[in-house]
Assembly symmetry: none
Homo-oligomer: 260 residues x 2
DNA sequence: GCATGGCTTGCACGTTTGTGCACGGTTATC
DNA sequence: GATAACCGTGCACAAACGTGCAAGCCATGC
């Protein structure tokens, strides 16, 4: 590890940049004035360093210092829509996650938001069939990422098929976030795609608890394939403004309802 | 002449280099001026030593001295660097791809560029252990994407381990793009990470042809684990400006060389 | 002996790179 | 809308750089 800066110790220019990068990775941001003090050079030199790093697109130069670039995976079409709503849902959904848990995260735009919203420092293991979820978590400190392989279905944005199924069946998780096409307090979870059904079922069965995170319309639309009975759905996270009658029905079914 | 004679302090060049290396390992860096003083030789000699050590990739030469080669930066950073060079290499590399072929694309920043450069309308099947490669191809018309699952190693940016290995062994491909850490016309392909080796080997063995896409420095640096003999490397794509002698050696070994 | 060639070394040269400072413009914050 | 902090640029200077070269050393062989 890097030792704390020794006062009279000289650092090579390039070494200084490396250390700035490291600091950046750890703290997410650096302040030019602090760095100047720490490395005992003028702020001009620090600014030059930051500019250079920014030119290599290793950080983003901002007023007063620099920020870590968190490259957001290229956003699929659906994801672009209603980003804000999904982020709000995700923020609540991740509060259900405990330390050192193992999570199944299914493919889907809302689940991408959930992955991005997962807090650091919980030492989580995330199992996912969605490349964008995996990518969002690669390099995040304290995360172990397990990717479910298989043929990727473009419509879904994740692996499906027997290969994926077999891998899922070999894992047990604490929490499961299935992608939600439609859900109903009487019958439970429904899905459009036949291939997806078996995967979601396997995920849910392999998990201690299941969290449904749904924008309001998911609770009033219908889908073609029955996927899971309501008893297996532990939590429901929905937006404010959802029909209270619907929520009561879910509560009556034994699901813990969380309103954003 | 100008230097005072110190009896018994004389060191052979090779011995001096060893001592420099030792110092490097202990402190993480060395400063040319200090070494000159310590070994009682001119800075010129020290600089020559450092250059030589750097050529053997035992250290990283920087302004003022040399640094220990720290572990490779995370994939997210590597992918953002040298974008233009990688794009140019990728543009040539993809010209080796035929219609309706099955491709193995390994994890790695250059391979990300290759995936992005693959042409539409070739009805390709891409098998990859890298989520970012998969993500780049999801939704591209005419592509079938197969994701290799397993534990994702953040440094590498792709799945590794026995789970990934088994999946790879169940597939036969036409073309393989292994990530290149170092390559040599005599001995073939070398890799830094032990886990990666088995994966790359399996990919190469399961493919009809193998394409090495390498920025110039990969052909003069060394890595720790032998991965594939030169006979199994069908094509080499390199940048203009690579040492002609090196390229001739590759040609002599039977590899088809493509210069960008 | 001494000539030869390989190797290392220090020096001189011109070039590149890093640094701090002064200047005037820009941006946050109250 | 004033103030202070922060910014980029140009500049001068010093340190570090690579290169070419000649001197020195040593082993080898005539």
């Amino acid at each position: 590890m890097t030792l704390p800066e020794v006062p009279g110790e000289a650092t090579l220019p390039r070494e200084r940049q490396d250390r700035i990068l490291e600091r950046l990775r750890r703290h997410g941001r650096v302040i030019a004035a602090d760095l100047a003090l720490e490395f005992r050079v003028s702020e001009d030199s620090i600014r030059r360093d930051l500019r250079e790093l920014a030119a290599r697109s290793l950080c983003k130069r901002v007023y007063g210092g620099a920020l870590l670039i968190r490259d957001i995976p290229p956003i699929a079409e659906r994801r672009r829509e209603q980003v804000e709503r999904k982020r709000a849902l995700a923020a609540v959904a991740v509060s259900l996650v405990g330390r050192r848990q193992i999570l199944f995260i299914d493919a889907g735009s809302t689940n991408s938001a959930i992955a991005a919203a997962l807090p650091d420092g919980h030492e989580l293991t995330v199992v996912t069939n969605a490349p964008d979820v995996a990518l969002a978590l690669i390099g995040r400190p304290g995360f172990e990422v397990l990717c479910i392989g298989g043929r990727i279905e473009p419509k879904i944005g994740g692996a499906v098929g027997s290969m994926a199924l077999r891998q899922i069946q070999g894992i047990r998780a604490d929490l499961c976030f299935p992608g939600v096409c439609a859900a109903d307090a009487q019958t439970g979870l429904w899905t459009f795609d036949a291939e997806e059904v078996v995967l979601k079922r396997a995920m849910i069965e392999a998990s201690g608890e299941t969290v449904l995170v749904a924008t309001g319309e998911k609770l009033i639309t219908a889908a073609t394939h029955h996927t899971a009975p309501v008893e297996s759905l532990t939590h429901l996270v929905v937006e404010r403004g959802t029909d209270p009658a619907v929520l009561d029905a879910w509560r009556a079914a034994g699901t813990s309802v969380h309103v954003v």
